[in-house]
Symmetry: C2
Subunit: 852 residues, 2 copies
């Protein structure tokens, strides 16, 4: 499924027409239900509902997810070893309240087989509603109009509201609506995992299925005439959940109401003798409350309060509150892309998904899939800190703060995990819901120690940009100190042509080499972590001595620890290769054989699904940007020449098999001057889910990638960077774009930045004057005086001829820039974009074509 | 349980007294049943029975194993990836025929609670019998003498024979003997695996349990008055098994016989009205036949033939045949250690175990535990090729040939496995029964590509020593070619200061570092494999052109392949470090932090049970000899200085956490001149099972280690080496040993070599004259003229002061030999022996003490 982006785009524009503030589907198509269920899902970060039709039936997964509501299970290792993760955690598919089954003349509406005269489904980014309008000709020939809406409230995180309006247009007919709460989490038919899970069908990115009954129902649900509340407890995790529903029926037709509530199925049935043209309107408000251990009966009370509040407010006020919330969100968040309506539409879809993933996640964390699916078991990873929290920090700082508090709450578990690995301090789990390490494959999991530094990076960026030092001083410092301690303990001193501090046996973001020594990204980020700890301790000693003393006592901070971190950071080994003038991805990366991407058939991508890890690990080939990500996150530590040389070396061997790659490749391509390449990678990031580029959007959306899209726009094309809270701009507007404008919040100030081909304008909407830097010159922007600077072009324009013929051919004015692979008999034949294109080529051919 | 080795040995000499040709237990003790069941087990390589008492009851495991008879199951990976092993294989505990339950006055004999007046159990290495004599005072005060024997036939691999003679000494009494065939494989009580299999209780070296019924019984067993045969089929593997038993009762007492046969339990019951002093003698012959797929009914016929043969021969003739077979075995095999009776006894026990593991394994392979237990799931590994087959080659070449044919039979599966890993040629599985890779942890499993070269090494050694080129020319060449092809494909050419061929991403024998580049052992052995292929192709072209042409056609041997292998071998990168003048274990081993063995508490050994792999892999610390093993197997490629420098570097960081380590450390210690250390390591190897040094003898004996004991004696102390079938001797007799004598077979000749402190004598018992080399001088030994050479000492005598204070202190004449770890502030504090001692220290304290 692809939202058309280019005028020449061969994707059916009739099914997905252009809109400014919504995504619209004009034809029902069950060939890609999994994708469309994710793309049209509604959620608020706490509660998420996949875009299954109201009638149930055909679905990839009937999914409803409550953030953090998970089951645990004992991980069975085929061959165990000491310290392997023990507690599996899987997000639970919560009871389904979306169901409102419709029968006319006793015939059920089933979209896949019905005679549908007209169909439109729209996810409205400003109203915060999923709307559907269906014109159905029943088997007896009557036309029935069915208009429904669905929303998950941004203002009341526990509330979702659905409406259905049914009108029989021709003649009278008996109409039945059976509105349900259905616990279908144990229904295996929806979670089909092929028997040959280890053969062709396996995919480690999917969620596992349970082999036990997960949700143990309360045998005594709460039932009142217009209300039912069902309760459950997870068998192992002991988490509790209550799900309630209220119904309001409005019609001038005669109605008979029935109710039938069992522990796994609550039904409210309306039997209507409908007259032609007389509408039947059903409003269904539902509430979800979950807890780590509060008894179900107490959650019933909470559901009642949520439902009572809705009953007082009514549907209109609720819809209005939703719109008001979103008006404010867009005010803080919308990025305007002038003259690119299709890119604009796709970008807004991404920004909307970030609200749906983060708005009310509150302190429960933001999972890789948000609340749109059970992919990756509902776990949160490092990419939230690197791609999502920075976006939130600049636009919605309260959400960023909440997301950081999630990590604070997991600190004790991270301390325990460090002990498991014989380390001091804290080691955050590679993937988790509840704070325990759930990665069953340590080489590409636990070994990614860099998550510690990524978390520290998010804390420091948040504090620098928002100016909220209080969070740091009170709780964040504990995270910074404990993560720094882990680094100081993990590394070791080598005395070999001078003292240096080395970190061995780790895996960087690129999972196509694992358990290596001195991974560049890891070391650069660890250095930042250590220095941040040093600086923060000195700052607190100076600025908040009382809090500092408390911290020293609380963390048993010892004499000399701070200077030890300083020494570790100072002497941290940063691998550098004199032949290529680049940073090797790790100490020995350049000694490895080059993977011949050009000779790799398109159907072998992604490599991880077609080659044994031992094969992949042996080569110079990347799943995702690694050194290049360090060039972005810690750009101030690298020169422009460094960046270009490294980008040129790594880009051709980056497959982009991870969705996290394209956006970073875009940002650095833009910075170093490969403008067209930057735009192509941006598009690949933009379309990850809208075009299902990685063929697993059905498992849920790639939230970090949607965050990456914002990163591309602001850091890549607007060319913004920050250091210690000070903003710098060096724009890189793509060719053909008229303008790009984004709002930003800096230390309580509200700014807008607009870049055109000719100039950059930074305006202060509110706040104290701010000093900024544009292409090396300082300016002060005030409420009364925007800064407007003329641009002489958009940075260097390099011509990348290496996209298909490889390293060794990146030229500027015809000059060979890099030497490429040292064996002249085995030149590299392909570049990263080539790989990415191959990656797409095996997908729907139109989708791939749509990108070029 | 320890067989006392030293006069001052604190181990109870009354329980395990000294014997020349047996191991004897004089007191029943149920505190170490698991160990004694393994140590007193009987078997012939095809059929094995643990030393459970005839009465059943108290046992660690009631175990009966048929070589290769296994169940398969789908390996469930906690997180799967492409190419991971899919088919688990586990040796099946076959129905138990050892049971002969005894009741006197209706009271059962149960050793653990009975009033035992006298007890002796003896495993007789010459008779090939397990004998037991028990004098029991029944609860009613009668003394009953129970004498039983058990043997598994070396001459008829399917046959086992048991006898029981019961005599009531005081008064008359009803005596019942219930002799059984009991299928107890599904009895979970015997295979207890703690629920917290991933917590403290986990041990990857144990077998897994099944969660399904494995043996599906034939509902219609074969039953005749004195015979019963039961049949089974494995649920998944479809392998079939028939188990039959004949009974002969001889007594002057009145007897009533009953028989009761069900699919899982066959009982033959003898009710005897016994008079005082009148013996009751029961003979039970049992037959086991298994197949990959032959119907059970056909196996019944095979069992009948086996049992009929025994019936014709009778017990005396059968016992005599067993003794005759063993007389011949000892003639070929016995190593005489003069003046060291305890070491002699333990050595003979080891050599006897090699017969029990290999004699009739025929072409089924020799598993790590032989047929003594289900440890390592009954899998065969590389250590058979490295430690067992060479022993067989020099002493029992037919057994060696059979063991090699097992690999020939698995070649097709190895070809498929190579394809799974995207390689040409063949890749033998790291652990297997049926030829499919069963290693679920690739880092320490599949990544051990060196198994390919180890197998090639065993083939070439066999062919060189036996002169049996026919095996090579007919089938062995296929193995040599296909393994060489894998190496040529696995490695790659690096053009960096000259062309060289590199092998990345492999694990050597030392599993404490994994997935490394250019592991020294792997590269040295791969080079041997490649060169062997080159030499063999040229030899066949010359000596057997017709067979060569067939091979070229069969293997599609291409023009240029042989020269490619030659080039790969010629340029294979052999890492060498100029600072220490040693070979790094892999390209980057020396860059790693040193593990402080001295600071590691004794209860943290073996490290693998107390540290996450990521922790262990990060350090310079060894589970077992790796470079040092290469120094032994390919000694001719290293100088004496090389060997000493490498041994001195690696020994202090070798924990000996693997049972395979001590024997190799002993051999090289002897060669380089650390004589006392060599003897200490030899003892550690000798006692692996007798003293349960690794605390898992209960899972089965460590067969490779028993082979290693022979290696120590012949290669270590006699100082023999061979190259292309030519023998060299440079003895290293330990201080205090009067002499050491071993028989050897070389190219059809029978030799005896005897070393004393003063001379070496090589005698030719039969065969053509042979040129040998003693300390650099050539001699010809003939039937009429032994070679006798006076010895001036036993090689260099170095003083190893480094055993407790580490590298940097190995001295000869007070001279510092190695520089040790480069950081003077962090000197190594402990040596390998120290680690090995710590390893033992946490075991039964007397066992450890017994070693010093």
């Amino acid at each position: 499924m692809v939202s058309q982006l280019d005028p020449g785009d061969p994707i059916d524009p009739h099914r997905f027409p252009l809109r400014d503030w919504s995504i619209v589907e004009t034809r029902y198509d069950d060939s890609d239900l999994g994708t469309s269920e994710s793309v049209f899902a509604v959620g608020n970060g706490y509660l998420g509902m996949r875009a299954n039709p109201e009638e149930g039936r055909d679905a990839h997964v009937h999914g409803t997810f409550v953030n953090g509501f998970h089951e645990t299970w004992q991980i069975q290792h085929a061959e165990a070893a000491y310290g392997f993760a023990q507690t599996g955690q899987t997000i639970v598919n919560a009871p389904d309240t979306k169901l409102m089954k419709l029968y006319v003349d006793d015939e059920p509406l089933t979209l896949s087989t019905a005679d549908i005269l007209d169909y439109e489904r729209e996810l409205d980014f400003r109203a915060g509603l999923l709307r559907r309008k269906v014109l159905w000709r029943t088997p007896s020939g009557k036309r029935v109009e069915v208009i429904s809406t669905r929303m998950v409230s941004f203002t009341d995180r526990h509330l979702a509201v659905m409406t259905m309006q049914v009108t029989v247009l021709d003649g009278d007919a008996p109409v039945v609506i059976s509105s349900q709460i259905l616990n279908r989490q144990d229904g295996r038919d929806e979670y089909y995992v092929p028997d040959d899970a280890l053969g062709a069908g396996f995919d480690p990115r999917k969620a596992s299925t349970f082999d036990h009954r997960v949700l143990i129902p309360d045998p005594d649900p709460f039932v009142r005439p217009h209300r039912m509340i069902l309760g459950y407890r997870c068998a192992n995790s002991r988490m509790t959940l209550a799900v309630g529903a209220d119904h309001v029926m409005e019609t001038d037709n005669p109605v008979e109401e029935l109710q039938d509530v069992e522990p796994d199925l609550g039904k409210k049935i309306f039997r209507v003798r409908a007259s032609a043209g007389v509408p039947i309107t059903l409003t269904k408000a539902v509430a979800y409350h979950s807890s780590r251990g509060v008894p179900v009966r107490e959650l019933y009370d909470r559901c009642r309060r949520t439902l009572d509040r809705f009953r007082e407010a009514g549907i209109d006020e609720t819809h209005a509150a939703q719109r008001a919330w979103l008006d404010a969100y867009w005010e803080r968040t919308d990025v305007v892309i002038e003259g690119q309506p299709r890119i604009q539409q796709a970008t807004r879809w991404c920004l909307y998904q970030l609200a749906q993933a983060a708005a009310r996640a509150d302190q429960l964390g933001i999972a890789a899939k948000g609340v749109t699916g059970s992919g990756y078991e509902g776990h949160a990873f490092w990419d939230t800190e690197v791609y999502v929290i920075p976006f939130l920090t600049y636009t919605n700082p309260t959400m960023a703060r909440n997301a950081l508090r999630y990590r604070i709450n997991l600190l004790d578990a991270a301390r325990r995990r460090a002990r498991d690995l014989a380390h001091r301090g804290a080691l955050f789990p590679w993937r988790t819901i509840n704070g325990e390490e759930a990665s069953a494959y340590y080489a590409a999991g636990t070994a990614q120690f860099h998550i510690n530094a990524d978390i520290a990076y998010a804390f420091m960026t948040y504090a620098d940009i928002t100016g909220d030092r209080e969070l740091l001083y009170r709780d964040g410092a504990d995270v910074i100190v404990e993560t720094a301690r882990m680094w100081a303990d993990l590394g070791f001193w080598r005395i070999n042509s001078g003292e240096s501090f080395h970190i061995h046996g780790v895996t960087g973001p690129d999972e196509y080499t694992t358990v290596v020594n001195n991974n560049l990204f890891t070391n650069v980020m660890a250095r930042f972590n250590l220095r941040s700890a040093v600086d923060l301790m000195r700052e607190m000693q100076r600025e908040a001595p009382e809090r500092y003393d408390q911290l020293v006592a609380r963390l048993h901070l010892e004499e000399g620890e701070v200077t030890e971190w300083e020494a570790c950071a100072e002497h941290l080994h940063i691998p550098y290769d004199e032949t290529f003038n680049i940073h090797p991805q790790d100490d020995h990366f350049l000694e490895c054989e080059a993977w011949d991407v050009a000779a790799t058939p398109a159907d072998k991508f992604p490599l991880l699904l077609h080659y044994h890890p031992l094969v992949i690990y042996r080569y110079q080939v990347l799943k995702q940007a690694d050194v290049v990500l360090a060039l972005f996150l810690r750009g101030e530590e690298f020169t422009a020449e460094d960046k270009r040389a490294n980008f040129e070396y790594y880009d051709p061997i980056t497959t982009g098999d991870s969705t996290l790659s394209a956006v970073v490749q875009s940002i650095i391509a833009a910075e170093v001057g490969y403008s067209d390449l930057a735009l192509e990678y941006f598009r690949l990031g933009l379309l990850v889910d809208l075009a299902d580029l990685h063929r697993n959007t059905s498992d849920g959306l790639h939230i970090a990638s949607t965050g990456g899209v914002w990163n591309c726009l602001v850091f890549g094309f607007i060319g913004m960077r920050q250091s210690h809270g000070r903003l710098r701009f060096d724009p890189r507007l793509p060719r053909g774009w008229d303008g790009l404008e984004a709002p930003l919040q800096i230390q309580g100030r509200h700014l807008r930045v607009r870049v055109t081909q000719d100039q950059i304008t930074v305006s202060m909407l509110s706040g104290e004057p701010l000093e900024i830097e544009i292409r090396g010159t300082s300016y002060t922007v005030t409420e009364s005086e925007p800064v407007q600077v003329a641009l002489d072009g958009q940075g260097p324009r390099l011509e990348w001829t290496g996209t298909t013929s490889g390293v060794g051919e990146a030229r500027e004015d015809g000059t060979l820039l890099t030497a490429g692979y040292p064996d002249p008999d085995r030149p590299w034949q392909a570049g990263g974009l080539e790989a990415a294109r191959k990656h797409c080529a095996q997908l729907e051919p139109p989708a791939a074509a749509g990108l070029s």
